[in-house]
């Protein structure tokens, strides 16, 4: 639970640009698959994809450190 609270605090810290009003379009659509692109993992640069997490429900957070 503490880890999840840390996560939510981090999300709050990262949501610099989020507005209280309805959010502008993200380019994503409910009911559609998340794009199956392969990207380098931050930790080691190896290929990684959302497809590796098939079988699990997850929260995906697209963010930046700026």
């Amino acid at each position: 639970m503490r880890a999840l609270l840390v996560h939510s605090a981090i999300i709050l810290g990262l949501t610099v640009g989020v507005m209280a009003m309805p959010a502008p379009p993200t380019g994503f659509e409910v009911g559609q698959p998340f794009p199956p692109i392969t990207l380098p993992a931050l930790r080691d640069g190896r290929p990684m994809s959302i497809m590796q997490f098939r079988g699990q429900k997850l929260i995906l957070h697209i963010f930046a450190s700026w």
Binding site: G17, L39, L58, L60, H61, W66
Partner: protein
């Protein structure tokens, strides 16, 4: 929790995650392949990879609701294309010979992501080929800029890469001025905003807190600086008396690029009358001559001469020498120039110079030299 970061410099994200003790798996999307118009975006995804919530309530991040966790979502009727790990670069290169914009883009993307720094040339060439066929593709202009800047930050850099990155990002933003990611990418390099944005002000605090925990901060390949930090704020020359010019009569002998190679970058590349540019002037010791800074003799000094009517925030700068007798690091100065409101459109040459102590090779000569530079700033016609 899984993350995707939209970053030009992934090492900064590593430092951020170390600071916040975030242990999620995270992917790097420097090319903005997701084509997200802004960040942050949070999605709830089911067991089949289908998006079920966009920007869910924060409580979902803390704990996925039981109704969502326990529900078995239907499998999609269409079979999804499976991600297959590393692409076949050879196959994509052959397919690019079909000479379509799509084929060149796919090859560029793959070789950028997986070809390593030695193959960035190929990614850049492939993006250029795609743009020759589809010149109004904003995403390809953006990605070309990312590739140029990546090459600039690598050992494979070429003179002019930084400016070409700025030019490519500028073109992307001209095509789609609403793309927040692209806009912020250029703003990182200047000029400093009227309300400076703290892109990376967190870095010094992060390092302090990480060290306090007894850990070693993740090293950064490129230190944040200039417009990437909200502090200090800028102030133009009209509000502060000028420094004394160090070599007003031009008596110091010139280094015309023999010992120190110079690169200049102007951001943005074009401004309206009354506009502001941020100049980056980068100095690199000549590898071939094994040139190096002589730090025992004195500090590096820079002076810029704004033309009549122009103002500058830092006319005189020094770079303190590091605490060792010699060194070979890159040295960089940044400053901002404002052009007058009543200026005619055209290219304006803004002169400046650096003074430094430099040596050649191990037992070679050590000299005090001046290198003159010229910044070319394009002033465009004002909008009516």
């Amino acid at each position: 929790m899984v993350g995707i970061i939209e970053e030009q410099h992934p090492d900064r994200a590593r430092l951020f995650m170390q600071w916040k003790q975030m242990a999620w798996p995270v992917m790097v999307d420097s090319l903005n392949l997701l084509e997200v118009p802004y960040v942050p975006i949070t999605l709830a995804i089911d067991e089949h990879g289908i998006i079920r919530q966009i920007q869910p309530p924060l409580t979902w991040v803390e704990q996925l609701p039981e109704e969502f966790l326990n529900r078995s979502f239907p499998e999609p009727s269409k079979r999804r294309v499976e991600a297959s790990g590393l692409p076949d670069l050879g196959r994509l290169k052959r397919m690019a010979r079909s000479n379509t914009a799509t084929a060149w883009r796919e090859y560029a993307q793959a070789v950028f992501l997986w070809g390593g720094p030695d193959r960035l040339d190929e990614a850049i060439t492939a993006y250029q080929r795609a743009l020759a066929l589809a010149p109004e593709d904003g995403y390809t202009w953006f990605r070309l800029g990312v590739a140029y800047r990546r090459r600039y930050d690598s050992s494979a850099r070429r003179a002019g890469d930084f400016q070409r990155a700025i030019d490519a990002w500028t073109k992307a933003l001209q095509i789609d001025p609403n793309n927040y990611i692209w806009r912020r990418r250029i703003q990182q390099y200047g000029p400093r905003l009227k309300k400076p944005y703290p892109f990376y002000d967190w870095v010094s605090r992060a390092r302090a807190e990480i060290r306090a925990r007894g850990e070693t901060p993740v090293p950064l390949a490129v230190e944040p600086g200039g417009a990437e930090l909200a502090r200090p704020t800028r102030q133009f020359l009209s509000t502060r008396p000028p420094e004394k010019e160090p070599d007003p009569d031009g008596r110091i002998h010139r280094d015309r690029g023999r010992f120190i190679r110079v690169e200049t970058v102007v951001v943005p590349p074009e401004i309206p009358p009354g506009g502001v540019v941020r100049a980056h002037v980068i100095f690199r010791p000549n590898d071939r001559l094994k040139a190096h800074w002589n730090n025992e003799a004195g500090d590096f000094v820079f002076w810029v001469h704004p033309p009549e009517g122009w103002t500058v925030d830092r006319q005189y700068q020094t770079i303190p020498s590091p605490p060792r007798p010699v060194s070979r690091e890159l040295r960089q100065v940044e400053f901002e120039l404002r052009c007058p409101e009543d200026i005619r459109p055209g290219t304006v040459a803004i002169p400046g110079y650096a003074l430094y102590y430099v040596c050649e090779d191990v037992n070679g000569v050590c000299l005090y030299r001046r290198q003159d530079i010229v910044l070319n700033v394009r002033v465009k016609k004002p909008r009516l």
